[in-house]
Subunit: 418 residues, 2 copies
């Protein structure tokens, strides 16, 4: 008798996974290792930026009042009393009709309140003349105009990208408090699996899911322990799963979650006393995706079919890993696209179709990336997005508007809205 | 007298940079290190996928002809002669009314030409009965349906992402030929610069461009040599630039490219005999961005202003690095968005505004990421895209359609279309 499983909607499955993530705490890393980590504390401005009034141009710092009445017919002369390069300081306040030659980024000298660009002057032996009046504050980058001391700039839970690094450096964060990253275990199950360097033999295929998941984790800069491949043998698989769970923070298995005679993951979960969150999701591919939880650790039982495995990781495992780090934007960005070719399969379940999106003069077009079955592997290698076709719909035609999820996007979004 | 520079359009600047990239050749890396590299040879299918006819379901393999005439009133009985798990083989051909119990992924046994899912059968002591006829080929994953031996699947020049890894593994590529990655030198110039762990002192700021560029390279998995910071001193800067160029494949400097008294990069290029491709681009921020070439190596003279520096890297340096590896998709993906707030500055030059895009029920909305000047640093830390406002336009208003470029996207596009 085949077990009948009740499928739950994708949204509900994601909600359940995210409800079960546990945080691993925080650690301090040097700034140069902080790229790609998740901020564990907000970035607060430690001082004003800029920290002093400064010149945005190469030119002359003057008192605006001295330029009053200047015109083409009445050029105002200024006497240059010194020069201030960026990083240097003027050593005396300027007086009437005096000016400092000043470079971009240099601190405005005492009494000056405007900067005249070189191009706006005619230079002479002692200084220069001007042909227009300047307002007080003109061409000054005012202290604190970018941010003010004490201002909350970036929330905890944000991914540290290159711009974040610039901000951290500005405030002198030589060390940064970040979320500890989980170590993920990977185990590929299936008697049919060969190693990548094995010759093909009848009835067998090479293990592509293991290397693919390692790359999906590489993409997130998450470290892993690989437990290789296990044949469909209950005791041995149980042993490896138990060992892997003890040594890692989360376990991903591939294969063994369907209703076949050698699909042992359900039995292993039972033996170990893991709580099954769900074992059927109303999606294609990957309806057999199973997620369980034991002692606060998540066990992702992804399908052995490559397309299903890929999709299961991106939909469930990736957000869970980001969630374990307190990441506030764990989901793939979504947008709309026009379907570039017919997709005539009906969709009893929500369907995820590997595809390519492209900007064209008529809008964003998404085209399925070829052969589409849960066992497909070539289409995973093509394309840059996933088309999402809602359950309960019939085929879609060229020109229909569809939702797409962007793959390989460093910054995600905070909510799953499909 | 201030030097007058002639600005060239952004598109022309990108074209010139890309014309001057040189390839560094190829190398062989193990599959587990291939993620993020650029394929130096196309992926050709080494065999059919699947490599044999196989079962897409858990069920029974039968001869379709034996199911002819089956109905609810006339259930057809089958005798099960054995079982085939994935990775195993049936040891005998099936005969009339015979079937193999077969698991997902297993090779179809001799003489069988259809698979019946468990759910479609009623099992009994010797086998099962069926209530509908099956067609020859029904529920069979046919050898080669995903790809055929000899088929060109992925072109050289493609970034290796997790899906590519799955395909490489499938065909037994334990080693992969990839483009050699350049080593990039980074030198921050400016007497105003402090190290990240220095206390602020009057007139000085911490170096944020150096760490930011290191992170921009980290994001691309490109290694670098950091030459630290140099004060605005001509001989010393020349010495470091020359040394860096000898030790790396490309040099990025920040600062020193404007027309100030201590902007020494132009003089250094001249001393070294480098050919200047351009020293003024019709863009904001970053109009002073200068690119030179010496002995086949590119020198990127990025602005010392953080926003300008960031933008210059993403617009020019990143595509050049990808181009050096033969990457065929070096540019940021573009799309359209609705401006979410007014942006009233006029745009004498093409303007690049750091922003956040978000999908909303009314479409994609892009909102500038706050304080907008070339010297801004806080806005670089926010947002996930760059709004591009064409030169010659006046201010833009909420609701206007604008172009955006996506930041942090693993896969780019082949053409610069703005």
């Amino acid at each position: 008798m085949v077990e009948i499983r009740k499928p739950i909607p994708v949204t509900e499955a994601i909600r359940q996974v995210m409800e079960h993530v546990t945080h691993l705490g925080t650690e301090i890393v040097p700034l140069e290792n902080a790229y790609g980590r998740i901020l564990a504390a907000p970035i607060i401005a430690k001082h004003d930026v800029p920290p002093f009034d400064r010149s945005p141009y190469d030119g002359f710092a003057i008192r605006a009042i001295d330029s009053a009445g200047a015109s083409g017919e009445n050029r105002m002369p200024f006497h240059v009393i010194g020069e201030i390069g960026a990083g240097l300081l003027g050593d005396k306040p300027i007086g009437e009709k005096e000016a400092y030659r000043i470079m971009t980024g240099a601190q405005i000298p005492k009494n000056a309140d405007a900067v005249v660009m070189f191009e706006q002057t005619v230079e002479n032996e002692n200084g220069f003349t001007l042909r227009k009046p300047f307002d007080a504050g003109e061409n000054i980058s005012v202290q604190g105009e970018d941010c003010k001391e004490g201002e909350l700039l970036i929330e905890a839970g944000t991914l540290i990208h290159p711009g974040t690094i610039a901000l951290l450096a500005t405030f002198g964060y030589a060390f940064v408090e970040v979320a500890i990253t989980p170590v993920v275990g990977i185990l590929s199950t299936g008697t049919e699996l060969l190693n990548v360097d094995d010759e093909l033999v009848p009835g067998k295929i090479r293990n592509s899911n293991g290397p693919m998941i390692r790359a999906q984790l590489d993409r997130m800069d998450i470290s892993y322990k690989s437990y290789g491949m296990a044949a469909d043998e209950l005791d041995m698989c149980t042993f490896v799963v138990e060992k892997a769970l003890a040594e890692t923070d989360m376990l991903i298995t591939t294969g063994g979650v369907s209703v076949g005679d050698y699909d042992y993951l359900p039995a292993i979960y039972e033996r170990l006393g893991a709580k099954i969150l769900f074992n059927k999701v109303a999606m294609r591919p990957g309806s057999v995706t199973t997620v369980a939880e034991l002692n606060g650790k998540l066990l992702f039982g992804l399908s052995g079919n490559p397309s299903a495995c890929f999709t299961g990781f991106e939909l469930f495992t990736r957000p869970a890993i980001l969630g374990m780090m307190g990441g506030t934007n764990p989901y793939m960005p979504r947008m709309k696209a026009i379907l570039g070719e017919d997709f005539k399969k009906p969709n009893p379940f929500t369907r995820f179709v590997r595809a390519s999106w492209e900007f064209t003069p008529t809008g964003v077009i998404a085209v399925p990336a070829g052969f589409n079955k849960s066992s497909a592997v070539s289409s995973i290698a093509r394309g840059n997005c996933i088309i999402v076709l809602p359950s309960g719909t019939r085929g879609f035609s060229t020109g229909d508007e569809v939702d797409i999820l962007l793959l390989g996007s460093e910054l995600g979004v905070s909510e799953w809205t499909l």
